[in-house]
Amino acid sequence: MMLIPCPWCGPRDEAEFHYGGQAHVAYPADPAALSDAEWARYLFFRDNPKGPFAERWSHAAGCRRWFNVVRDTATNEIHAVYRAGGQRPVSP
């Protein structure tokens, strides 16, 4: 049970949160302008690193806000938490 620091509510049990996959995969500005391959890349391709990973979480059973987390997928260590739309902090 990870302890996830919600930027709005502070540290809360993982069970209060909903996972949203990789962060910074923006909905394309003009999907119609994309080739089939480019659109498929947006739809289906996601990174799967062992190590730090920027991902989206929502405090579903709390403030219901979406935000971003940099989490080490091997250790569950949380390196950074920042608002949706924010820049990923530089390293780690």
């Binding site: 949203g20 909905y27 659109w39 929502s58 250790t75």
Partner: protein, 929 residues
Amino acid sequence: MTRQPFRRDGHRGETLRFRFDGRDYEGYRGDTLASALLANGVRAVATSVRLGRPRGVFAAWTEEPNALVQIEHPFPEPMLQATTVELYDGLVARGLPGKGRLSGEADPARHDGVYAHCDVLVVGAGPAGLSAALSAAGSGARVVLADDRPVPGGSLPDTAETVDGLPGAEWAAAALAELDGHPEVRVLARTGVLGYYDDNYLVAVERRGERASSRERLWRIRARRVVLATGAHERSVAFAGNDRPGVMLASAARAYVNRYGVLPGRRAVVFTANDSAYAAARDLTAAGVEVAAVVDVRRGGGRSWDGSEVLAGHLVTGVDGQDGVSSVTVSPDPRGGLAGDREIEADLLLVSGGWNPVVHLFGQAGGRLRYDERLGALLPAATRQAVEVAGAARGLSTLGRCLADGAAAGARAAEAAGFRAGRRSAARAEDVAAALAEHVWLVPAADYRGHFVDLQRDVTVADVMRATRAGLRSVEHVKRYTTAGTAHDQGKTSGLLTSGVVAHLLEVDVAELGTTTFRAPYVPVSFATLAGRDRGALHDPVRVTPLHGWHVARGALFENVGQWKRPRYYPRAGEDMRAAVLRECAAVRRGAGAMDVSTLGKIDLQGPDAAELLDRLYTAMMSTLPVGAIRYGVMCQPDGTVFDDGTVTRLAEDRFLATTTTGNAAAVLDWMEEWLQTEWPSLRVYCTSVTEQWATVALAGPGSRAVLAGLAPGLAVDGESFPFMTWREARVAGIEARVCRISFSGELAYEINVSAWDGLALWEAVQGSGAVTPYGTETMHVLRAEKGYPIVGQDTDGTVTPADLGLGWVLSGKKADYVGKRSHARPGDLRPDRKHLVGLLPDDPDRLLPEGAHLVATARLPEPPVPALGHVTSSYRSAALGRTFALALVSGGRERVGDRLYVPVGAEQVPVTVTRHVLYDPEGARRDG
């Protein structure tokens, strides 16, 4: 009659009566079932799971692999260790053949859960744990001390060693009393920590007993720092006959003598590779057990010993006695060049192959372990969790060092949590120097079928050998191949022994083999305890509408839709479901019916950009909808598949009400929030769930207009004044209502929305008109299927697009984009062989197809693989059609209309004809009444 013939002289206590395997015995308060059985001379307690061999008590606490029992009274509980069951008066138990039996009755006991937070959690109240708790408590930190035993002190009552000049048990009791005096300290006795999860979240079970308000409590503890003072388990050696009743860990025998006042035998042989067993031999001798010989694998023997003969450089090579040890065969280590076996009469064989620090929780916490050659044990190495390991759990072997180490760890933990640990000197004990231990895993032999590695799983060295000869090199693989270490004792006595034997067989160092993964739970836990009070409706809430009581009173049968209870049909006297549904369907098509549709999800969207948000999320254009009008809408995933459907009602320029399917209401609200927050934060929209604020009654059928006119005299209900897909505000039965002209049956129909408080009054007024038949979800399903209206989640499965469902008309061509639009132009979405929603008419009009059945092209099934064309998604009897029909997703289905296909049902090929998916009133003539 001598009562408790193996009870040590002078040991007394409150007498408790119990029954085991059908015989009555007595024991004392403070006994475990195992110690009481030993006191009564019961040697064979259970039989082994695979080989059916008799097994006796092997250990004295949670590491016991053999003595598995089933409690029969007061409540049947399977697979408990006799060594951890505290004896109580009236206990009835029996030994198990390796496996238990669940009770068929519901458990009457209550189980509870508790959440706790602390600065320092100390696991284990042995010498190190008590010392850690004392120094942490002195800093003012909030401390929780959790220990799985009923009395504090860990091994101190077993070893009867002295601390600060006091008998160990007395020192421990005094330490506990001091801790109890700290207002910020909570001591949890009988509380075993069984799981260590991310960010110092630990789970423990407190055994409170049958008389407490709850039998067990599950503690979920979040600790800023953790001190693991979990001690060490002694391990065995693999030799022939090492599973016989009477073979016992040396430390366990010492515990029976000192803690429980029980003699585990009369005449003992001690087989050891280290010095700790000499202390056991000394204590047994003092208690009156004759120690016939100490067999020490070390050529130099152990520490000075004034007792019986020491056979240094010797091994135990055999054990005689079927139901209990009768003699032990001892041979010189063949490496020593000596010869000459000796047979020694004995009824007890103590074994000490060495000590395994209890690193289970540390391992669960993601800590890495390293093999220490000198100690012959796995020791905790690095971890990222905020944890200290103290005492025997990190390989310390003498009492004095464990006390000092615990005190230091407790102070470090408190300081790391932001407290100032005072200067408190650690408790002291005499440290006895020990000779170096040797690490012997197995005694060489020609036949390894009686050399047990894992007693609970009946795994022998021969089994391990078969694994290594099959080419397995990793201990993880050997474990899975042989099942060693996978029993509910979690390999406490067998895990490292297995590694040692594998290393011996492969002729490598144990360190090279790596370790197996430690997983929760450290000790077995019942599902009832994990569930606690989260059972039934407290686990999965039951949601009911304001009209629920009426449905119940009218004998409705319900179906679960998500968490909602929805009336499925309302049978009249003598009616089965088929008759009731046909009657309800006919009533709606010929007259008027009413249904409680309050469970439909309702989301109120407000804000200047609400129309823009809806345009982006629904496939249809919503921004052009005039105030007062309603539009059907479908939402897709970005991959173009159908996510949900419903209606959108425009209440004002900047305000809409969107309805969702009953089961998807929360998901749709989440969906809207996610897009708003993560992709389009500039859109000014608030989304609010109003599902439970409204009660909604669907009024359907050609007679519905007259019923509504009667209830709402102020409302112009004629088709011109109140056209299809519009809404009006009106007083219905005197209640303020929003009336929508929408239909999910193809008939003239209305949905009347009122405040949830007024729902029952509205419903009763509708029923009171006398012309309306209540109908349930089953009838609704049939009526909509006759019209070819899909139900998301029943006729769709996450691969289906709106076009597949014949809903191409809801896909806006005018909008530059909506979620899913780009995918609808992908080649895969344009393939002619996509599965389309079609109707099916079985040749036999009375034949009801099973939902989920597949469709094939030929009257005879070809050899597999049989190409399946699709499957039946909905199947009903239709009153309006006078026959059965079905909906199905069929490859290229719209091109197959009129074709004959077959549905394999059992051995039969049921012939059907493909039709359009709209089977009833395809012209839509009935919509306006």
